[in-house]
Symmetry: C2
Subunit: 186 residues, 2 copies
């Protein structure tokens, strides 16, 4: 099961402010520039490559707080699994969202047995957990040209140094830079 990350960070590596807000993403760089074919910075193409999504509780709550309509829902009919060991039920979403608590490797094995091949993993804590289980294979990191100074980090402690390989790097007209990195746990 391939597991990939697709996420935006500040130049100092934060995915959100401490209160979870990501407003700064919409003002960083040159927000009103015409991105042409890059308007979604590769998101639709990435979504088309995955067949399920795994996110943490906090990530789910942040998305829920946005109160997206069916038209605004960015994940189509992709099956979404929310990891939580505390929740017993989920709020309403316009998409296919289900709850999972338990072992991550068992979850991935189950998803594989159900025909899934590529998971989109989202949320800082969840991504860090997956990296420490050596489960993330690829990361698309889009860096916004802004320093936040503090917030929720994309990365955390690792058990060892983890080598990455640059698959591609692209600068967008809005001054964001997107790197696609593969992960090598050897």
């Amino acid at each position: 099961m391939k597991c990939s990350v697709f996420i935006a960070t500040s130049a100092d590596g934060f995915i959100a402010k401490n209160d979870g807000s990501v407003d700064w993403l919409h003002t960083a760089g040159i927000p009103d520039v015409d991105l042409g074919d890059d308007a979604d910075m590769g998101f639709k193409q990435f979504m088309a490559s995955v067949d399920c999504m795994i996110m943490g509780r906090k990530c789910m709550e942040m998305i829920h707080s946005m109160q997206l309509t069916e038209e605004q829902w960015p994940y189509g009919d992709t099956r979404i699994i929310v990891l939580s060991n505390t929740l017993t039920q989920l709020p309403e979403f316009p998409g296919k969202v289900e709850l999972y608590s338990g072992d991550i490797k068992v979850l991935l094995k189950n998803l594989e047995n159900q025909g899934h091949t590529h998971a989109y993993v989202d949320g800082g804590t969840t991504i860090q957990g997956f990296i420490n289980l050596e489960l993330i294979n690829q990361m698309t990191i889009t860096r916004a040209p802004i320093l936040l100074g503090e917030g929720i980090s994309l990365f955390g402690k690792t058990k060892k140094d983890i080598k990455l390989a640059q698959c591609s790097a692209k600068r967008f007209a809005n001054d964001f830079i997107q790197e696609v990195l593969s992960v090598n746990y050897d």
Copy 2:
């Protein structure tokens, strides 16, 4: 007085491990690839653009620990000012190194009065201090494709969000990515 940063970080934003070591810089990416004209990743060209250097005590101590010969000294005859409020004298160096304690803005004013126009600012604590004094104008950040998990951060807390602008972005054959960013304190 223009103040610039030229520094390498891990993909998770560290400039050194907690013990100050930067060995990982030499094994990250594809270390044995031929970089051709990019062998120094722009360092000589950057050095040619500055006329003085300001670094923190820890940065000086790290450089001193390398026991560089005159031939290995990477800063030519560029005047180097080491900031320290505790040291009273410096160890021997093959280059022009002097000690300064006191107000940074006074130092920059003095350097300007002595004809300097562009300072290379180095060392994590020093760079963070300069950013919070709104003194850094440009940053060249070369990201090594490796996660360290912990270490000495390039960036720290800021008093507010700081907008950056992407001047250029370049991917080297060794899988490092170099961004040149200008800093906007408005």
